[in-house]
């Protein structure tokens, strides 16, 4: 990139597809920049949720997310989506969702009966970003 003129670099940046528009390195460490907010700051939930860690979300993406899940050391460990079952049954699709990191080591999908923020029964889709992430988010 250092061989390009600044104007050419801007032009290339503008042509970059939206899926790669975010710099995932900016999300590696908590807290991520606005518009992300810490879930426990805006909803009556514990700061660290066993199994999910400390969650951040862009309110404009609710209910599906992505929710960025950080461990106790502030390392991005998982990206979580919350998809209401009734919405899925009614034909709603949650397409093209962003991810916190392009590295995914494993995925868990399970049912959740509801909680503040997503009160209706929904599925948690959890993309872990390294092999130890699940253990770090457990407690």
């Amino acid at each position: 990139m250092k061989f390009l003129t600044p104007l050419a670099a801007i032009g290339i940046a503008l042509l970059t597809p939206a899926a790669f528009a975010h710099d995932e390195h900016l999300l590696e460490t908590a807290p991520p920049e606005a518009p992300y907010v810490q879930v426990s700051d805006v909803l009556p939930l514990p700061e660290f949720l066993p199994g999910l860690g400390t969650l951040f979300v862009d309110p404009g993406t609710l209910p599906a997310g992505p929710f960025l899940a950080y461990d106790h050391d502030g390392k991005l460990s998982a990206t979580v989506y919350m998809t209401p079952l009734q919405a899925l049954e009614d034909g709603t699709a949650f397409d093209g969702l962003a991810i916190g990191s392009h590295t995914v080591s494993s995925v868990d999908i399970y049912y959740n009966a509801g909680h503040p923020g997503v009160a209706e029964p929904h599925a948690h889709v959890v993309l872990f970003h390294d092999a130890d992430a699940k253990a770090r988010l457990a407690q």
Binding site: P44, P46, A113, G114
Partner: protein, 173 residues
């Protein structure tokens, strides 16, 4: 009605205890109702979900679910416009959201049947029933017959008054 440390004695018990000193305070019966859930939140419930108590008993709602917050909220028009499912003379209560290990106290003095629910989990059937005293007690008011207002899942979770009076405490399922 949320007080410091989220512990409130809403219907006179607290005032009586304060005025009468430690001896009377120690004589007030306290029953514990826990808010519980599975680790991943697949199931959540009150434990017990049905309980029979004498009038004047204090109920302590305790959030024992490390991964969720819960409320204990009476069905009442003053609280989110719900149909009343507590005795007419009773005072409704709403614990507000309790984080893990937080608690909320309420003292029930009016005989009859009280139904309550958890605000974010009513659709998941997190509801409970309290029977204060017995039918025939002065002022006794039976369970609400309404079946339109509560979420069907919550209604299904409420044990019958007869079963609660027979068994005293009814746990999940």
């Amino acid at each position: 009605m949320r007080l410091t440390r989220r512990e409130a004695l809403l219907v006179g018990g607290g005032a009586l205890a304060t005025l009468a000193g430690p001896a009377l305070a120690q004589s007030i019966q306290v029953e514990r109702i826990e808010m519980r859930g599975t680790a991943r939140g697949e199931r959540i419930w009150f434990s017990p979900r049905g309980i029979a108590i004498p009038a004047g008993t204090t109920l302590r709602f305790v959030n024992s679910d490390p991964g969720n917050s819960h409320t204990a909220t009476a069905y009442h028009p003053d609280l989110f416009g719900r149909y009343s499912r507590i005795p007419t003379a009773a005072t409704p209560w709403d614990s507000g959201f309790l984080l893990p290990d937080e608690s909320f106290d309420v003292t029930l003095t009016v005989p009859g049947v009280y139904d309550y629910y958890c605000i974010p989990h009513e659709m998941a059937g997190m509801a409970g029933r309290i029977v204060v005293g017995r039918p025939g007690d002065p002022g006794w008011e039976a369970a609400s017959a309404d079946t339109e207002d509560p979420a069907p899942e919550a209604l299904a979770a409420l044990p019958s008054v007869e079963r609660i009076l027979t068994e005293g405490r009814i746990e999940r399922g």
